[in-house]
């Protein structure tokens, strides 16, 4: 049911984008920022819930994901990982996000904090990420995402 709700939301957002394409550039950029922030929230909820089906809708088929250990995952590999690790997550919080829109490409940079329990052991991880989004046929899709571990509080 949650997956269905997310699908409806994604479809609604995508439809809205098509309408916004005719607006002046600045308004289009503003709409793009709002859209991308919404998509980032959808991502977090889907990942936390292990909802690979919902997440799949906002990822480009050629999307690449670079995990905290430097491993390179395809979309399918990432979705499989989400299915497995989602139930382990207690919280997934992104913060300090900035959205940069460059026409049909957008970048989101921010920090993340993840807590959970895996094999009976609590874990806490944090770091920085950049997600790269591209607008294809009116819909924004993530084409690359990367996580780099580190303590965001220790920014130099």
């Amino acid at each position: 049911m949650k997956s269905l709700a997310l699908r409806i939301l994604v479809c609604g957002l995508a439809t809205g984008l098509t309408l916004e394409a005719a607006l002046p550039q600045t308004e289009d950029e503003l709409a793009a920022r709002t859209m991308i922030m919404a998509l980032e929230n959808i991502w977090n909820n889907a990942e936390k819930g292990g909802d690979a089906a919902a997440l799949s809708l906002i990822l480009d088929d050629a999307m690449v994901y670079i995990d905290e250990d430097g491993s390179l995952l395809t979309k399918m590999q990432f979705l499989e990982q989400v299915k497995q690790t989602g139930p382990q997550l207690q919280s997934l919080v992104t913060d300090a996000m900035s959205v940069h829109v460059y026409g049909e490409t957008a970048l989101v940079a921010g920090t993340y904090r993840v807590t959970g329990v895996a094999r009976g052991k609590a874990f806490h991880r944090e770091g920085r990420f950049i997600d790269t989004w591209v607008r294809k046929n009116g819909a924004w899709l993530c084409v690359a995402a990367q996580a780099t571990p580190g303590a965001p509080g220790d920014v130099k």
Binding site: I66, E104, L107, I130, V143, A144
Partner: protein, 148 residues
Amino acid sequence: MKAPWKTSQLAILAMVASSIQASAQNPVQERILILESAWNQAVQLRDGKAVEPLLGNELIYIDYDGTVMNKGQYMASVKSSALHAEQVTNEAMKVRVYGASAVVVGVYREEGTRHGKRYLHRERFVDTWLNREGAWVCVASQSTLITH
């Protein structure tokens, strides 16, 4: 008369152009790969003037340890006397072009000394390039240490 940085950049480009294999599928991909190699050469030479035109003013640079830098901070790190990169290479690069933007995924290998101590890093990176009036500039670069 060409500006000094242009001379420097062209010299580096000429040096690395021959090293780019014909693996790139189109001229844009080939161009981006040349710029990636030029960036490496400039880092190795601590040539800030050569690095500068490769980067957009709004650059977001996330280093392998999670440090985030803007363009000025990154430029300073390239020129830092504490860092001496002796060998800088990229491996397994793939370029995807999306109109006026391009995303490069690859492995960055750097070997050298920092504060007198030897180091060797292998990092997976994503660089995002934008085409601005015919010139490609990198606006985001992130690295993650390969530990798996």
